[in-house]
């Protein structure tokens, strides 16, 4: 776990840059990276809207989180369905953008991605080091982005 936290610390800037570029491209707005990006023991948090997206390869399994407050979400979406659609697409694209970062690819490899899921208001991904922080759009909307990762674990039914 500590080793994974060290790895994430090394690539934290790549992870935040990918987040900013993804959101900027999809929402077609200028974005900045907030100074709250940090490596944590696990990915947790409560927000109005959370999208999670699972990803894995033979060595690692991870979760991407995209979270936003209700007011911010509705700057870009009129309905709940649109919130899920737009921020789900951000999660989907962010996974690909992470793999475009050479240092991320070198440390973790290529992760295959699942379908984005709406996770109501709370996220929790245990036994996984995480890096998270905010991207701020030109409309002053704070979008919380998280990436948690751990060595591949197989769950067995006993």
């Amino acid at each position: 776990m500590a080793e994974m936290e060290d790895t994430l610390s090394e690539i934290r800037d790549d992870i935040s840059l990918a987040a900013s570029r993804t959101i900027s491209s999809l929402l077609m707005v200028d974005c900045s990276i907030a100074d709250d990006w940090e490596v944590k023991e696990r990915l947790t948090g409560m927000y109005d809207h959370i999208i999670t997206l699972g990803c894995s390869n033979s060595d690692y399994q991870g979760v991407i989180m995209i979270a936003v407050g209700d007011q911010g979400a509705h700057q870009y979406a009129d309905t709940h369905e649109e919130v899920v659609d737009i921020f789900g697409e951000i999660a989907n694209t962010y996974c690909g953008m992470l793999m475009d970062q050479d240092r991320v690819k070198e440390k973790i490899g290529i992760l295959s991605q699942a379908i984005p899921m709406y996770a109501a208001d709370r996220t929790f991904f245990p036994r996984a080091a995480a890096v998270s922080g905010s991207v701020v759009t030109e409309d002053d909307v704070y979008i919380r982005v998280g990436f948690a990762i751990r060595g591949f674990m197989t769950l067995l039914n006993i």
Binding site: T22, M28, I86, T93, G96, I110, Q113
Partner: protein, 126 residues
């Protein structure tokens, strides 16, 4: 006569962007929009378009499976994959019959990206 296109992506937000780009920038006619692989196959058979764009990661039948099914039925089908999936997916799609592959995000405000996107679309029909 303008090219007739079917656009398939599970994100409605993105299909709107793709449709707008294809119609305004390329002069194509988007004749149908779908949101999963099953719809892609059905819409292709129904409309017989000049081009179909496919996302890969979609619920149910994914874009790669849909692509293979369309190619099996129509080996001359023009299929452009538009996806965030990295790694071997692009090579697999191209080896199995895709005419082109564009990586998301679609940076439609970036002049270089738009130029490349247009070039890829033109290459599909060469």
């Amino acid at each position: 006569m303008s090219k007739r296109v079917v656009v398939v992506d599970d994100s409605k937000f993105l299909t709107k962007q793709i449709k707008k780009f294809l119609e305004k920038e390329m002069g194509y006619e988007v004749v149908a929009i779908g949101h999963d692989g099953e719809e892609a196959v059905t819409l292709y058979e129904e409309h017989k378009p000049d081009l179909i764009t496919l996302d890969i990661t979609m619920p149910g039948k994914d874009g790669q499976d849909a692509m293979e099914e369309i190619i099996e039925k129509d080996p001359d089908a023009k299929i452009l994959m538009i996806s965030a999936v990295r790694g071997d997916a692009m090579l697999e799609c191209m080896a199995n019959g895709a005419s082109g592959y564009v990586e998301k995000p679609l940076k439609l405000k970036d002049a270089d990206f738009v130029t490349d996107f247009k070039a890829t679309l033109n290459e599909v029909f060469e």
